[in-house]
């Protein structure tokens, strides 16, 4: 811990003290492009051998990626360009859930992307997920959110905390290769937010009462993505109010249970092809075995789930940013004003540069968080930074894309206005930007406090 902190001070202050300089020289750190923060002791790093050096190597550009990540990138990009981009505008205008496209996504293995092959998942890592999310969302941000809610928010908590029985019942049929009795894909959703609490996740008022063999769930969840297409929901409910947020537990609730109903579909500004509504539970009974993990573990499960979800949302925001940049630059190269393409004008070039720097830096933060997750390191701060940076990059890039397109940016003939509307939600869901600031600052302060 002390060595890695010394490293950070080295880069911040420029001139490390003699002791830390010696410590740095004696370790293998100088050969690593970036270091592990705070999770390993100097002794562990000093004895690291070649294979662990290689395993903690960080990829920062597409050309450095190993071949299967490149294939994931190629495949998702091609799919997005051929199947999603041509239809995204239509789905947005009609508020139409893109059933066929999501079915194809499932066939490609993208609706169970991190799950083990024991459950028919694709067994890919977090970096592949981030890359896939960016390319799919570049085609259609709604398909991106459908994919990310299903993968990060529904499948992950069961996979990470659920019993084998729960996994058999609620992961295997949900990794995209099975269909229900109506021939439809099995999709899941995540119920944490309520009409009375969003950022204040610890104040859940949905209750789960122990009734011998069953739990009885009562309450309403709000803003739930995939609500109208899903057949199973992760629901967070209070099992012991006196313990406050330590009294919240997580459950899998089959949505066809008696007493379970849906609210009306929300009419949203963006991501309109995905459905959002309330989940209403009135004395819904679920078997005892549908508890995920231990009673009282719910808050921890939610927070850990959201950490991974933030990488997915960062990927989605990067996709929207990339789509905006593509749209703006192509237009700038063709549109003439003052006798030449506007791409030659300095104010347009400034915008293009700002957009690209914002998107690329957010992508580096996202890849860093994903790779830390894959390496088994704690990545809460990095995931929050990635989501914060990427969502702000998306809104900025979409905003400037409209600006570069001028009047054309304001009409539905060009996709810039859709990117602007789709980008906006990325700063809100899975933790508002304000909450991300708190997570990051809290972690930084904790680190400094431990020093002094």
């Amino acid at each position: 811990m002390r060595l890695s902190l010394a490293r950070r001070f080295h880069s911040k202050l420029g001139a490390p003290a003699a002791a830390t300089r010696a410590a740095i020289a004696s370790s293998n750190y100088s050969t690593l492009p970036s270091h592990n923060r705070g999770t390993t002791t100097p002794a562990q790093h000093h004895s690291s051998n070649l294979s662990s050096l290689l395993s903690s190597r960080k990829y920062t550009t597409y050309s450095q990626l190993p071949s299967e990540h490149q294939m994931v990138y190629e495949m998702c990009r091609k799919f997005a360009e051929e199947e999603l981009m041509p239809n995204a505008g239509k789905w947005d205008q009609k508020h139409e859930f893109p059933t066929d496209a999501v079915d194809k996504l499932a066939e490609l293995g993208l609706m169970g992307i991190n799950c083990s092959s024991d459950h028919n998942g694709s067994e890919l890592d977090a970096l592949s997920y981030a890359i896939a999310m960016e390319e799919i969302s570049r085609g259609c941000a709604s398909v991106g959110v459908i994919m990310s809610a299903h993968n990060s928010l529904y499948l992950y908590p069961i996979d990470a905390f659920g019993s084998d029985d729960l996994k058999e019942r609620y992961i295997t049929p949900y990794t995209g290769h099975e269909r229900d009795e109506n021939g439809r894909l099995n999709i899941g959703c995540f119920g944490l937010s309520e009409p009375g609490n969003g950022s204040d996740a610890g104040a859940a008022s949905t209750t789960a009462k122990d009734d011998g063999d069953e739990w009885i769930i009562n309450g309403t969840k709000a803003w739930i993505t995939n609500a109208h297409e899903a057949s199973a929901a992760i629901v967070f409910a209070t099992t012991d109010k006196s313990l406050k947020h330590k009294g919240i537990s997580a459950f899998v609730v089959p949505m066809n249970a008696p007493g379970f109903s849906l609210g009306a579909k929300e009419d949203k500004l963006g991501i309109r092809a995905s459905s959002t509504s309330n989940l209403i539970m009135e004395n819904v009974r679920i078997p005892k075995s549908n508890l995920i993990g231990q009673p009282g573990e719910g808050f921890k499960i939610a927070m850990q789930t959201l950490d991974g979800g933030r990488i997915g949302v960062a990927g989605q925001a990067l996709g929207i940013a990339s789509a905006s940049i593509d749209c703006a630059v192509k237009y700038a190269l063709e549109r003439n004003a003052f006798g030449k393409p506007i791409a030659q004008l300095q104010s347009i070039q400034n915008k293009i540069s700002q957009m690209t720097v914002a998107r690329d830096s957010a992508r580096l933060l996202t890849w860093r968080a994903a790779q830390m997750k894959d390496n088994g390191e704690k990545y809460t701060r990095e995931a929050a930074m990635a989501k914060l940076a990427a969502s702000e990059a998306a809104t900025m890039c979409a905003h400037q894309a409209i600006q570069i397109l001028g009047g054309m940016g304001y009409v539905t003939e060009m996709p810039a206005e859709r990117y602007y509307r789709d980008a906006r939600i990325t700063e809100i869901y899975e933790g508002t930007s304000e909450v991300q600031h708190l997570v990051i600052a809290g972690d930084v302060l904790k680190e400094y406090k431990q020093l002094y």
Binding site: E68, V72, L108, G109, S122, S128
Partner: protein, 272 residues
């Protein structure tokens, strides 16, 4: 069905704008930082091979490519689509810098050797032509060297229970259906655009592709093994005389009336 051999070529991606690079000589094309992918007609060939494999259990699809070390990635894409294993004949960077260096005759000679070495090859599926050299020669040359039955520009392929192939061929005047009888030699078929739509490699298949074997062998070693002469292989049979961009489109003429239009067309000899 036993083995299906699918030769694939790594070319400049079809969506890229080609730029002439005269600094590389009269036939130079800019290759730096240019995206490369599998030739689209080769992709169609791979897809057809996999569809045939799915209909005939026990068939093995072998993808083979000749080129620099990045060709392994192209082979991996074929594996991710469903091919079973790959063979990479690796060339040094200065050979096969672009399509000019290793030409259809050399490739066909190498492929003939591989077909004979592999034994039990029932079918060789190739793209009808590559989008860089557009020669369209490798398939027919290979069939000639093997003394094998061939069908080019296939738009539909059906395999009979007796091992024959009935192929619908695209011609300038329509579709021709021919039958390649089973004769102890592999059928050689080149694939055209309408044959199929290549599938996206699925995520699980991308993961599986990592574990499938790719045998890499240098060009020199392969030539030696097949008993060919390296000089003969590397000497181009075709000479590219010149590569130039097409002339920019000329402005059209506006005419005032139908009569004037007819007059102009007659003038140009386009209408009698």
């Amino acid at each position: 069905m036993r083995k299906i051999l699918v030769p694939i070529k790594r070319v400049i991606d079809y969506a890229q704008k080609i730029r002439v690079d005269s600094s590389k000589g009269p036939q130079g094309v800019q290759l730096k930082n240019v995206k490369m992918s599998m030739n689209p007609f080769c992709e169609i060939a791979v897809e057809e091979a996999i569809q045939l494999k799915e209909k005939n259990k026990g068939a093995e699809v072998v993808a083979i490519s000749v080129g620099p070390k990045q060709c392994t990635e192209t082979i991996r894409t074929a594996l991710a689509m469903g091919a079973d294993r790959g063979i990479h004949i690796e060339t040094k960077p200065d050979v096969r810098g672009d399509y000019v260096d290793l030409q259809p005759w050399a490739i066909a000679s190498l492929l003939k050797g591989v077909v004979e070495k592999e034994d039990a090859v029932d079918l060789v599926l190739l793209g009808k032509q590559s989008i860089d050299s557009d020669c369209g020669q490798t398939g027919p040359l290979l069939a000639g060297l093997l003394n094998a039955p061939q069908a080019t520009f296939a738009a539909n392929i059906e395999r009979g229970d007796d091992g024959s192939f009935t192929v619908e061929r695209e011609t300038d005047t329509g579709t021709e259906t021919i039958k390649l009888n089973a004769c102890g030699k592999p059928a050689v078929i080149t694939c055209d655009l309408r044959l199929n739509t290549p599938r996206y490699p699925t995520m699980p298949n991308i993961m599986k592709a990592k574990k499938k074997p790719v045998n890499t062998i240098s060009l020199e070693d392969m030539v030696k093994e097949l008993g060919l002469d390296l000089d003969e292989v590397l000497t181009p049979q075709n000479e590219v005389v010149e590569v130039y961009e097409p002339p920019p489109r000329k402005e059209g003429e506006t005419v005032g009336s139908i009569d004037e239009l007819l007059g102009k067309l007659k003038e140009k000899g386009l209408v009698a």
